[in-house]
Symmetry: C2
Subunit: 312 residues, 2 copies
Amino acid sequence: MADAVEIVEVAPRDGFQPILPWIPTATKIDFLRRLAAAGLRRIEIGSFVSPTAIPQLRDGAALIEAAAGIPGLRPQVLVPTAKRARDAVAAGARFLVYVLSASEAHNRSNVRRSVAESVEDYARMLDALPAEVELRINLATAFDCPFDGKMAVGPVLELIGRLAALRPDVEICPCDTTGRATPDHVATLIAAARACCPQVSAWAYHAHDTYGMGLATTWAAHGAGVRVFDAAAGGLGGCPFAPGATGNVATEDVVWMFERMGIATGVDVAALLPVAADAAALPGATAGGRARFALLGSEKQASREMVGGCSA
Amino acid sequence: MADAVEIVEVAPRDGFQPILPWIPTATKIDFLRRLAAAGLRRIEIGSFVSPTAIPQLRDGAALIEAAAGIPGLRPQVLVPTAKRARDAVAAGARFLVYVLSASEAHNRSNVRRSVAESVEDYARMLDALPAEVELRINLATAFDCPFDGKMAVGPVLELIGRLAALRPDVEICPCDTTGRATPDHVATLIAAARACCPQVSAWAYHAHDTYGMGLATTWAAHGAGVRVFDAAAGGLGGCPFAPGATGNVATEDVVWMFERMGIATGVDVAALLPVAADAAALPGATAGGRARFALLGSEKQASREMVGGCSA
């Protein structure tokens, strides 16, 4: 095996988040069990955010408790502030994802404060964080912002440097929030960040597939040295108000691509497919992904290809 | 502008081919006009193949005649044999795409002969071809075969070398027929082919998006030096017997990715989008692509993003 990567399953957080109809906690727990059984051992199980802003994720504490009972599962919980981090740790979280945005406009929209205030808040969180709590930083809009457009590499690098200086043993994950990051941009930023901040313990990448570039940028990030990749089963995460516009890159697509290249993911794609199909079929979900259809329809497809004709 | 690429629109051939309900010739001509008006000046307008195997493409001669009247259009016509090439040239074709497969099983299924027989037939065609006719070779299953699986690079390179030796001033296009080519494989084969056959005048790449890797492999081919890319408006080309399984990489996705990186395509994506949407809506079509939904729904999406919350 040439190589190995770690897939972080984010459907239970980023994927469920825009779904308006309530997904019962028991259903969420069942997804966690089935995802873990398919080999997805690291799952973003939820977040501690305003239940008014994101009512779907208001059962974070119950999910932390349930996740502790799933063998081999390494759950991570997203938090946008030091205060929410305290709540999550009090509820039993042992792996936090602190989210802030590289762009001022998105950070204000997302967490109602400036980027500098989020960095200060992050520093305050570090001061209070128990030593055993693992940490990732999700840097939203690291490449493109829905309000400010394409992000210049220099200031984003500078922000990463400031965050890395506060604590080196974190995983830093530049996120393509809008799906408009191009593979060259992803490769450039991540290679530069790794060169600038060699002390950072790990780098991750979070792709959206809104414009079809999810696998292209994932592969570009791999080329730049990333070995941890976010993805959502069924390609969940689409925006319910933009019909057909999809969200996170699909876990089954990412797993299929890496495994096809001989890069181990630890995920059993055959076990994942029915879970991904069930996630995609959740009421109110906007699903994405390609491999699911191709693999589930492959027998029919093979018989069609037998017809011959003149394909290229 | 850092760079430029040429997009070859293949919806009228590879995209329409699997559509079972007849698309009237006048409708096809209207698509050619609108695609050309959007900046797609090189279009694979049809093929000369068995009308029994592919009844949808039986109006090749009429399309050649109509294409000649569309300003700026450079139409290419696919042919699987020297005999069909003769027919196409007699009908007025001035740019032929000769298709053969790298794999024995697919070539037998596609054109009912061995690969060696196709190479001999190609040589015979060259002997009879008027000097003014431009030529491309589409090498199907260059990476993966629905029957034989993943193709080893060595024998495919050897085949490309044999074809290149017969005539250097051709464009050679390794095709990912199944959509299962990975970006590393595409980069490796094309870089090696370019190194082995420097006399070949141009290299192209033909992606399918069946597993979501269409843009990833397109970008990988660009990295290996390719500057000519096939794509189909609306991501047409899916298999009607595998619901949801999509076909060619969508032209609008490819154009959007390249333009976003500052690489000129000559295509006006705003003019292309309604054409792509109409192609995707053809009765019996299996459409694909992502950018179309994101761009057509972008206003609604922007208002959703204003809601805030905690996106990454």
